[in-house]
C-alpha cells in the first residue's frame, strides 16, 4: 500500500539524482576555493625556525663569530640568507648570542676590531662601539644596543632563532 503511495516518478527520480550529483560537483569545486580564500587567516604566524649554529663546548667567554644560514620567505620567493652571530658566555655562564648588525645603518661589527678600544665591538663604517654585552657606547653613532638572538640548547648544540632588540637607549 504505502509502497504504492510513495512511488517516485521518473521525473522526480531524475531531479533528485541530478541535484545530488550536481551538489557534489559544486562542493568539490567550491571547497578548495573557500579553503584558499580562508588560508591567510588560518595560517599561524610564520615563526622562524631555530637553526643549529654551534657546539656548546666550543663557546668560550671570548666572543666568537659563527656563520649560519636561515631560510627566508619573501612572498613566494624562498631563499637562504647568510647570518652571523657573536656568541660567548657571560660571567654567570649564560650563553649570549649577539647579532652583528650595527644598529646605526646595518654594517657588520667586529669584536676587538680597533686597537684603541679593546674588548668592545667595533663597527668599521662609522666607528660605532658596543660593550661586550652589546650596549652601545655613548657618543658613537649607534642609537641602540645590538640585537640578541633567542637561543636554545639541545644535546650540546646551540640553536638560534630570531634576533630581538634589547631594551635601553
Amino acid at each position: 500500500m504505502s509502497e504504492k503511495k510513495h512511488r517516485v516518478s521518473r521525473r522526480q527520480f531524475l531531479n533528485y539524482t541530478l541535484t545530488g550529483v550536481g551538489g557534489f560537483m559544486a562542493a568539490g569545486i567550491l571547497s578548495p576555493m573557500v579553503r584558499f580564500a580562508l588560508d591567510p587567516i588560518l595560517k599561524e604566524e610564520a615563526g622562524q625556525d631555530m637553526v643549529a649554529v654551534a657546539q656548546v663546548k666550543d663557546i668560550t667567554t671570548e666572543p666568537q663569530r659563527f656563520d649560519f644560514k636561515v631560510k627566508v620567505k619573501d612572498a613566494w620567493y624562498e631563499s637562504e640568507e647568510p647570518r652571523s652571530a657573536w656568541v660567548f658566555k657571560d660571567e654567570n655562564g649564560d650563553i649570549v648570542a649577539l647579532s652583528p648588525i650595527c644598529k646605526h645603518l646595518g654594517c657588520t661589527v667586529n669584536w676587538n676590531g680597533e686597537k684603541s678600544n679593546p674588548n668592545r665591538f667595533f663597527c668599521p663604517c662609522h666607528y660605532g662601539l658596543y660593550e661586550k654585552d652589546g650596549t652601545n657606547v655613548p657618543n658613537t653613532p649607534p642609537p641602540a644596543p645590538l640585537d640578541r638572538y633567542e637561543y636554545e640548547v639541545k644535546d650540546g648544540t646551540l640553536y638560534l632563532g630570531k634576533a630581538k632588540p634589547q631594551g635601553g637607549a
Binding site: C102, L105, G106, T108, P124, C125, H126
Partner: protein, 144 residues
C-alpha cells in the same frame, strides 16, 4: 645599501653616512661564454657579500656591463666623475676581468670553482671578500 627602492629610501635619510660607491664591472663575451658567465657570477657574489658587511656606508650599484671588445676606459672615468658629482667620495670597482688597471679597481679573479669542494670554495670567496673590504677600509682611513 643596494640599488633597491627600499634601500634608496634609507640612503636618502642617511646620505651623509654613505660616502662609498661599489660598482661591479662585468664583461660579456660570446666566445667562451661560460667563462664570462662565471666571472659575472663571481664578481656579483663578492660585491653582494661586501655590501652585506658594509651596508651602512657602501652603496652597491648595478653592474657596469660591457662587451669585451668595447673600449671601457672612457666609460669608467665617466662613471667615476658622475659618482663623485653625486657625492660619493670613495669609488670602488670590483672586477674579475684583468683588462682594466686603475687605482679604484679591485681585482677578484674568478677561479674555476664549479667542481671544487665546498670548504675550499668558501675559503677562496672569504679571502676575496676580505681583500675588497681591506681595500675599502684603507681608502676610508687614508681620507680621515
Amino acid at each position: 645599501m643596494k640599488w633597491t627602492a627600499k634601500d634608496v629610501d634609507m640612503y636618502q635619510q642617511a646620505k651623509e653616512y654613505v660616502d662609498t660607491a661599489l660598482v661591479p664591472c662585468v664583461p660579456i663575451g660570446i666566445t667562451n661564454m661560460k667563462a664570462f658567465a662565471e666571472m659575472s657570477e663571481h664578481t656579483l657574489f663578492i660585491a653582494n657579500e661586501v655590501e652585506r658587511q658594509f651596508k651602512g656606508r657602501v652603496m652597491l650599484f648595478p653592474p657596469l656591463t660591457y662587451f669585451v671588445q668595447e673600449q671601457i676606459q672612457a666609460r669608467v672615468y665617466e662613471w667615476i666623475n658622475m659618482l663623485k658629482q653625486a657625492g660619493f667620495q670613495h669609488i670602488c670597482f670590483v672586477t674579475s676581468h684583468a683588462d682594466i688597471a686603475d687605482e679604484s679597481f679591485v681585482y677578484v679573479p674568478a677561479l674555476p670553482l664549479e667542481h671544487a669542494d665546498e670548504a675550499y670554495k668558501q675559503k677562496v670567496m672569504r679571502q676575496q671578500v676580505e681583500q675588497v673590504m681591506d681595500a675599502l677600509v684603507t681608502k676610508w682611513t687614508l681620507k680621515n
